[in-house]
Amino acid sequence: MTERTTIAVAMSGGVDSSTVAAMLAREGGPDAQNSVVGLTLQLWDQTRLAGRHGIPDAPKAGRCCSLDDVYDARRVAEHLGIPYYVVNQQERFEADVVRPFVAEYLAGRTPIPCSLCNNHLKFDQLLKTAQSIGASRIATGHYAVNEFDPARGRWILKRPADLAKDQTYFLFGLTQEQLAHTLFPLGRMTKPEVREVARQHGLALAEKPDSQEICFIPGGDYKQFLTAYLEEQGQQLPETAGELADSNGQVLGRHEGIFNFTVGQRKGLGVSSPTPLYVLNIDPASHRVTVGADEELATRTLRARGLNWISIPALTEPMRVRIKIRHRHEPAWATLELAGADEVLATFDEPQRAVTPGQSAVFYDGDEVVGGGWIV
């Protein structure tokens, strides 16, 4: 028996990863089936916090790790005739994603759990699990392109053909090692093309809607989740109530806790004003939340830490890049320069609205991801 290259497909039960499994399982003749293994990471028990603080008893469909999604992934694997396993990563997910998520909100920042999950679970742990079971590479349904550039001797991460589905913002933490062992088969396809391929492979879930919300928050209400999770842990929400003030320091009122706010937020501020007010700043030390007019939200600089570089080994001199500061942000021109051992300072050509601590800043050179970090 000759050793075949085995690819482990990360299957979430959605259209994208199911289509990846179908494409890889059906490529290269009938023998190819044996070289694809489907894996689903069991990350969170959707019923775990059910019944606490108004969290519904029965989770809605279409969330990661819901029973329905595992069922769908398993059905796809059965349909394709590939081995399929569910791998329990709940403890790591809680330690590496859920707890930091809670801590970030309590510290007045706005976290992105998907990037943490990609860094710690989807790529790091999944790749280890895949290699443990004899697979040499993993494949996921992310919309991104990765390719090796011999001239630079580096793996490059690029924006996909379908810019509306671009997921490179969440992938800035990938290491060279991870990029070298990962396939993104959907990178050069559009979502309608993916659905068409799913239909061609006879996948029953070709029309399944995309999932949008944070997968472990049933109902999508993060404040409810924070309270329920802390209660389950035998803790209470820490007291972070404080003053609500304008940018001149004039106190306008009080708020119930800094975790209720995110920079740029307009609703639910609890003060009335003739013109719309937005959250400008959250001070975790004094618990003061500063609000102001829309135009006050704009800032010309940001600082980011926890850096990862992809297209370059390291930043050695100032660099012209375009920076994306949240998932739905149009990348904006800026000059990037080092501001410490693990810190960059970015100066935008045009002021940017609502630079939000806790989110990531991802640096682009054309279609290439130069690198990224966490906004402080």
């Binding site: 028996m1 085995t6 293994v37 689903t40 069991q42 790790c65 029973l67 595992v70 398993r74 081995p83 396993y85 569910v86 791998v87 329990n88 709940q90 403890e91 280890k128 699990t129 290699q131 443990s132 079971i133 004899g134």
Partner: protein, 385 residues
């Protein structure tokens, strides 16, 4: 590809004789055992013969055998059929979930349960059962053999304690049946559950021994089947298959099969234990012949199970949760293993048809897989979970 099935404690294949015995009862002799005509009588007669075989298997009277759907139903019936509000129930923390979940449900109906923990070897100490007793203890339930470790429990001594206390005693013999002789009189039990598919019979059928005079309320009501102890049209082919499997199991208990099986298991165990950082869970307690539960330091058991499956070896690690992901075994945790070691423990359970070649293959594949896993993802013992 070579496939070696070493997960007999999960289920077993039908033996060809069992399938042959069942064959006429699907089409030719399809009658309802309750019908008065000839077709019904043929079915009834088959069920009666099966009942006689099962009576021999349990060492009880024919009338004390109740056919049902398997181990879960037997376990549930013992608990739901005997316990009433205000009663106290004593069981162990290493029972099958059919016992543990049923006890949990009874809590809502005013039945309190004491879960007795095992020793580090996986044994239930009869003295610990005795200490758990209360005046209102109505039922004791302890398994004959543990599904994860294969450890045989001292049911005879527990039976004596139950008798002295005036409590009913149920034995979950699902994993013990076919591996050690059953004798409900020697065990001193009032109820005893078995399942066909663990002894090379069909899935979805089993039997419950109910000692005469035990005031057991039926779980299912309707017709007067099984002397009003279990309503529902008899699963005639299944019952015939169970009887054939029990008959063959009784032969195996006497013809040296289990001695041969124990030798194979011992060779497998010794071979794996040559690897550094391994050990047997429950190894110093009396065990059934086919089971060994081995921990491997510095790796993830879940990944090893998958790696072995892809190399053609079917084993199990922990228990599958609703999604199919693996949870650390509640049995091993109850024995005091830390989560890391419980997660890194695999159960090898051999079919009675296992061969030397099967053991050779597993002894070739396991060391390779373990070395590969340890090289890729070294898990420092005690740092995870």
């Amino acid at each position: 590809m070579t496939r070696v099935y070493m997960d007999a404690n999960a289920t077993t294949p039908l033996l060809p004789e069992v399938m042959e015995a069942m064959r006429p009862y699907w089409i030719e002799r399809f009658g309802n055992a309750s019908s008065i005509h000839l077709d019904g009588q043929q079915a009834h007669s088959a069920v009666d013969r099966a009942r006689a075989t099962l009576a021999e298997f349990f060492n009880c009277h024919d009338a004390e055998v109740v056919f049902n759907s398997g181990g879960t139903e037997g376990d549930n019936t013992a608990i739901f059929g005997l316990l009433r509000p205000g009663d106290h129930f004593v069981t162990s923390s290493i029972e099958h979930s059919a016992i543990l979940a049923a006890a949990e449900r009874m809590a809502a109906f005013g039945v309190e349960t004491t879960f007795v923990a095992p020793t580090a070897s996986g044994l239930i100490d009869p003295a610990a059962i005795e200490r758990a007793l209360r005046p209102e203890t109505r039922l004791i339930s302890v398994m004959l053999a543990n599904n994860e470790t294969g450890v045989l429990q001292p049911v005879e001594e527990i039976g004596k304690i139950a008798k002295a206390a005036g409590a009913f005693f149920h034995i979950d013999a699902v994993q013990g049946a076919g591996k050690v002789p059953l004798d409900v009189h020697r065990f001193g039990c009032h109820l005893c559950s078995i399942s066909a598919h663990k002894v090379h019979g069909p899935k979805g059928v089993g039997a419950l021994f109910v000692r005469r005079g035990t005031p057991l309320e039926p779980l299912l009501v309707g017709g007067s089947h099984e002397r009003r102890r279990r309503a529902g049209t008899e699963n005639v082919p299944g019952i015939v298959g169970l009887a054939k499997a029990a008959e063959l199991a009784m032969h195996s208990l006497e013809d040296g099969t289990l001695v041969r099986l124990a030798a194979l298991r011992d060779r497998l165990e010794a071979g794996i234990l040559e690897l550094p950082g391994t050990g047997v869970n429950g190894g110093d307690a009396p065990r059934v012949a086919n089971t060994t539960n081995i921990w491997f330091d510095h790796l993830e058991g879940e990944a090893l199970v998958i790696a072995l499956d892809l190399k053609g070896v079917a084993v199990s690690g922990g228990s599958a949760c609703h999604s199919g992901a693996t949870e650390p075994s509640h049995v091993l945790m109850a024995m005091g293993l830390d989560k890391t070691r419980a997660r890194a423990s695999l159960r090898f359970s051999l079919l009675k048809t296992a061969t030397e070649a099967d053991v050779d293959y597993v002894l070739k594949v396991v060391p390779e897989a373990v070395a590969h896993l340890r090289a890729i993802s070294p898990v420092a013992a005690g740092t995870l979970g």
